[in-house]
Symmetry: C2
Subunit: 349 residues, 2 copies
């Protein structure tokens, strides 16, 4: 491996300090014009290539932005990232991505990795909280990010931390609407697949569901609420549990599309007709929901728009433009997509 010329080599050649070389190369006014010229000529002669990152270490700008997501293989997160990229590329920022697989230890390591890579900002969606122990570590490193003045923007899954902006959707309202829609279809025993309640988005979805029941005079029944991760397997298992109840539900509002898909597959294999006997609404608008045999009702979380908005908030922060306070906690309006899985023929035909 050919050794690269460093500022130390140039310093030695000219018998000045490395700090002076560095300052000369970075046009620091403390350095005389004659020294500056000499350093630049010597650097060229010695084939010195200024390392962009070494420059970043000194100037504090790398034009790299880090994005942390629980997983890249969900259409939602991939679309948010595309939105971020579309907004940032025009401003010469490159985007580097890390995924946590819902593991807080990896979330911590990812933040560290991005800080060490000298990113100019971090845009992240937090992982499900598994251990209270590790969340202390996460909070500590997030505090360090805030102290270092590295703009940090949460999207979708946020924590409420001072100095940290966020871009989310109206989870409570759209969940309220989804549940109301099921009630209007004639469903009376509506179950809910709830996500990790440490995450605000899932708490808001649960609260919206419960409030819609209460406002419609339907008694809230704890037995109809099952905590699931949004996977096909957990959705199918949750349905098995629900159908064993004395009075099984006649609808599910799931806080995730994959769990809803698992539920539909299980219901079908049990011979239950959808939507005649049972209605299902998911959350996320994953592409498969639209080209299933029976297209699934779901919530479009406007991911592209969310990514673009998160990037805009970052640009405002880094460029110190715009009304920071106003843009600090952005809430976007999502869209309930009603499709066949919750649209009863007898009602609408």
């Amino acid at each position: 491996m050919a050794r690269r010329t460093t500022i130390y080599d140039i310093a030695k050649e000219l018998d000045i300090t490395a700090a002076s070389v560095s300052r000369a190369l970075n046009n620091n006014p403390k350095i005389s014009e004659s020294t500056r010229k000499l350093v630049i000529e010597t650097a060229a002669k010695m084939n010195y290539k200024q390392n962009k990152l070494a420059l970043a270490l000194r100037s504090g700008k790398s034009f790299n932005v880090g994005v942390i997501v629980p997983r890249i293989d969900s259409n939602f997160f991939a679309s948010v990232i595309r939105g971020i990229e579309e907004e940032l590329y025009g401003h010469k920022y490159n985007v580097i991505i890390c995924q946590t697989h819902e593991d807080e230890k990896r979330e911590f390591e990812n933040i560290n990795t991005l800080l060490n890579a000298q990113v100019d900002g971090i845009l992240m969606s937090v992982s499900s909280i598994s251990s209270q122990d590790f969340s202390v570590e996460i909070d500590r490193i997030i505090k360090r990010v805030v102290e270092k003045n590295v703009p940090l923007i949460f999207f979708d899954r946020k924590k409420s931390i001072e100095g940290v902006s966020s871009v989310t959707i109206n989870d409570f309202e759209v969940s309220y609407l989804a549940t109301k829609h099921l009630i209007e279809q004639g469903c009376t025993r509506i179950a809910h697949f709830k996500g990790n309640q440490f995450l605000e988005i899932f708490k808001n979805r649960f609260d919206g569901y419960r409030q819609a029941l209460i406002d419609s005079g339907i008694e809230f029944d704890e037995n109809y609420v099952i905590e699931t991760r949004s996977t096909i397997v957990e959705g199918a298992n949750a349905v098995k549990t629900l159908m064993k109840l004395k009075s099984p539900p006649d609808a599910i509002f799931s806080s995730g599309d994959f769990a809803a898909l698992g539920a539909i597959q299980q219901l079908k294999s049990d011979g239950i007709r959808i939507p005649e006997d049972f209605c299902v609404v998911g959350f996320g608008n994953e592409p498969f929901t639209d080209f299933m045999e029976l297209p699934m009702s779901t919530v479009n979380q406007v991911p592209l728009e969310m990514g673009k908005m998160a990037a805009k908030v970052f640009l405002e922060r880094i460029n110190k433009t715009g009304n920071l306070k106003a843009s600090n906690q952005v809430v976007l309006t999502s869209e309930l997509k009603i499709r066949e899985s919750s649209l009863r023929a007898e009602v609408y035909k």
Copy 2:
């Protein structure tokens, strides 16, 4: 923003050079034990925190590995990345991901970004080649990566460059098998959706298809071959073109699943029965292929295994273990998944 203590501050405090401070902090034997002790004590007193990246700049190890893919929102690439992560996490490496959106300029910028972030290796799947002009730039930066001795490993979509390892699947053989399977189902006018022929994988898939026709005594007909990107829209459009031929095809072997899905949707909306009138085989084993109304035949490209193998080749390279020559060009065996879209009832019932 509080200014961080740098090695220059410590150097000034002790009236020695920054290079000496750096050497002392990194236990360079050129520095006397007494100086080393003094530097470390002063650094602690001044609350100096060694920057992991600055350390990386000197030691040449960051324990970050960069992965570049055309897109993260395909199950194939997401699964390869998961395989890479699973293999590397045990060895303390963090993975950072960049996507190119099939844009060579971004591919170039991504390589640059990762080099500047001081990654210890780059694992990449190249983008479709759009302009010959820019591929010169790409080749130049790849040459730089090789010269810097940063291990570079191609997976799936490779270029043949000296000093660069690759992990691929047996594209020719499995495409041959897929075409033979369609012939066995009684199809005689088999079309092919071919990918960008600058990429070896797509060339191999096309060659496997053609060879199977020739070996079966079926005349190869250029009109049945359409170049498409693997998107639903392009697949649907390609079918429209094919069905206008005097003698339209009775089967498609597509080099990508999304184009195959578009084809199936278009064929269905034209009232053509699958598999009775028309058989379709895709490529990629995207999850949707299995839970479509009519599950689609496709090729499992063993992405998890591919990711793990690419990571193993990287570890061998960085640790200089193993038989490098033998592992240089790894070809994994993929699997033809025969499902309803190409399985004719009258033949097998």
